[in-house]
């Protein structure tokens, strides 16, 4: 156990800090959250800067166009960019954290050459077509059909919770290629061009009032067989690789952000007098302990992943506790604000209340807390599957 930077890590941190200090002041102001084309342009321009500076996909393997940085250096990247207030990964999220790593791990050399450099440089944006109206927690029951017709698949069905669909060039799409096989064994992973005929995107308004997600309707869309990643009907395994990435380091930057937010909340409470309430003050103290421990848990998970590559199922513990702690943060903020928690338009999208609303998704998205508990119980603790589970 040594939590200090190695010499190589310290050098990486110094170089990154220096670059961030020089680059961030040059950035244009962030676009309005409702301006999707503006957001895409802003997010991809940031990605381009990272790419030009050699920081795009730092942790991706060198063969995939990355820098082959260690998981510990990637963690430093997430920590320092967040601490410096650099733009969030935004529209590049699915490409950098889902589709890219999947293609890097499972794609053909042609697929890697075609797609990965454009993800890294911000040239192309991806969205995710996994969930369906009838397939949420039970993702493997998805019904979007893909029928083989020569060297193409003909795809029909619908997807939901497709973030960034409105501005995406590509979609990582899960389809059923064998309806007669057991549900996990008849799924394939396809690369769908979002401008293909038969693709319709309908924005989905969430309880925040914004259109962060979309529904995706596919009507006899033709997808080349060459766009399949992994073997036919092996898409579930391919997907698990992606999802385990999501449950690994994907939230590390947010832990840093939450620690900063909590310190801000404490200062706000000092200013408005809420700090005098011992219950509230101790609640904030407890949350400081939770975020601190979760950061240590990230470091631990990352250390375990050094050399291993794919993070283990212990990441479910992190996801479970972190999404709950984040919601506690916004609930505590509402206690500090009092009736101010009912006002949305005071400070725009960064307001505590807007974050509180957005936070309601954290125990649902990327595997509900209930699913996480079941994963922990069955895969980590080895408890038996019950009848019908």
């Amino acid at each position: 156990m040594d939590l200090r930077d190695t010499e190589a890590e310290a050098a990486f941190r110094r170089g990154l800090r220096e670059w961030l200090g020089k680059t961030l002041p040059e950035l244009p102001p962030a676009p309005d959250p409702a301006d999707w084309p503006g957001r895409r342009a802003y997010d991809t321009a940031w990605q381009r800067r990272l790419y030009d500076a050699g920081y795009a996909g730092v942790h991706w393997p060198v063969e995939a166009g990355g820098k082959g940085a260690s998981p510990a250096e990637y963690l430093i990247f997430l920590e320092e960019t967040e601490r410096a207030g650099a733009p969030y990964v935004g529209a590049n999220f699915v490409g950098l954290l889902h589709a890219g790593p999947t293609i890097a791990a499972e794609g053909t050399p042609e697929q890697r050459r075609r797609y990965l450099p454009r993800i890294l440089s911000g040239a192309e944006v991806w969205c995710q077509g996994f969930s369906e109206p009838g397939a949420g927690s039970d993702l493997a029951s998805l019904r979007t059909r893909a029928e083989r017709d020569g060297d193409e698949y003909v795809v029909s069905g619908s997807k939901v919770w497709t973030s960034h669909a409105e501005v995406a060039d590509w979609c990582e799409l899960l389809v059923r290629t064998d309806p007669d096989a057991p549900k996990h064994r008849g799924i394939s992973w396809l690369i769908l061009a979002m401008d293909a005929p038969g693709v319709t995107v309908r924005p989905l308004r969430t309880l925040t009032g914004t259109t962060e997600f979309a529904e995706l309707f596919l009507d006899e869309v033709r997808v080349p067989v060459a766009n399949r990643v992994g073997a036919e009907n092996d898409g579930w395994r391919v997907t698990m690789v992606t999802l385990s990435f999501e449950r690994g380091t994907a939230f590390a930057g947010e832990v840093v952000a939450c620690r900063r937010s909590l310190a801000e909340l404490a200062r706000l409470a000092q200013r408005n007098g809420a700090w005098g309430d011992p219950g509230l003050r101790r609640g904030i103290g407890l949350l400081a302990a939770r975020f601190g421990a979760l950061w240590r848990l990230v470091q631990w998970n990352v250390s375990e992943a050094q050399g291993g590559g794919v993070p283990g199922p212990g990441a479910s513990v992190f996801k479970l506790r972190f999404s709950e702690a984040r919601q506690e943060l916004y609930d505590l903020a509402a206690e500090v604000l009092g009736a101010g928690a009912l006002v949305l338009d005071e400070t725009g999208s960064e307001s505590w209340t807007a974050q509180r609303l957005q936070g309601l998704s954290y125990t649902i998205a990327a595997g509900t807390s209930q699913i996480q508990r079941t994963i922990v119980a069955q895969r980590v603790l080895g408890l038996p599957k019950g009848r019908g589970a």
Binding site: A293, Q372, L381
Partner: protein, 334 residues
Amino acid sequence: MDFRLTEDQRSLRGGLRELLVGRFGPEQLRGAVETGANPGWAALEGAGLFSLRTAESDGGLGLGVAEAVLAFEEVGRSLVPGPLVGTELAAVHAGGTGGVAVLARTSARGPLLVERLPSLQAVLVLDPDAAEVRLADPAEVPARRVRSVDPLTPLWEVTGPLPRGVPLPGVDPALLRAEGMLLTAALQVGLATRAVESAVGYAKQREQFGQPIGAFQAVQHLCADILARTEPARAAVRAAAVGLDAYGPTPDVLAEVAGAKLLADEAAVRGARDCLQVFGGMGFTWEADVHLLLKRAWVHERAFAGAEECAERLAAALVAPVDAEGAAEAAAAL
């Protein structure tokens, strides 16, 4: 940065676990409850638990708090009765041998309690805000026996002023308190680990409605929650110990120590409660060991600093005026 245990740390932990399984298994635990016998103590003393951190020139191993917390996780898991933390602290800071308890007055409500007073070699007196730590003779502590909630932690209530004792020169009370908090927190992580293992073991074996109760999601989720509280606490305790070894009792490290104690107490107390729930009616019996877990967790929860004090310390650290540059450097270095 590498959070993983070194080869030496793994073998230290593994060796201790093996020793304790052999020398303080279920039978010895029952025996301790019924007769007060504690073969675990001699085993730990013989294995050098109390000399892990003493200097090599004094016959110790010269290891750090990081190694001590790993050892104390195992000790906590075994339920070997104390006073383990005070004895370790006295061995390190006062060259003491034999059982030593810490009398740490806190701002918390209720009486000042001390375990096993008549059989102690010494007591370490740790007053809040005092500039020194004192070593006192247990025979001079005015006290009366009280009925302890934990059958394995007999308690005496201090009824009058504490003896003056002898100051320990060069011992920083803040450091001693931080070490005590961390070692206690490590015991709690060990208890929480045992709670997970017991709950899961019972849930796999006990059948109702024609299947193991562990196949029901309601029971699975209780077990998952015990683990999900334990692992962040374990990470916090180990990281705080590494920080204390590397930087000493700086404000950042002390806040991290408080967080570790707070989360370890929560993991142990709530873990034991959930474990008891998984055991159902059996959990409410004297015969099942679950109540011993919960009662010990309650004892440790009150030691050195309770939840209120830890949370207040963390809150104060959040709003403490800091040199921003220095704090960033320190955080990056940790």
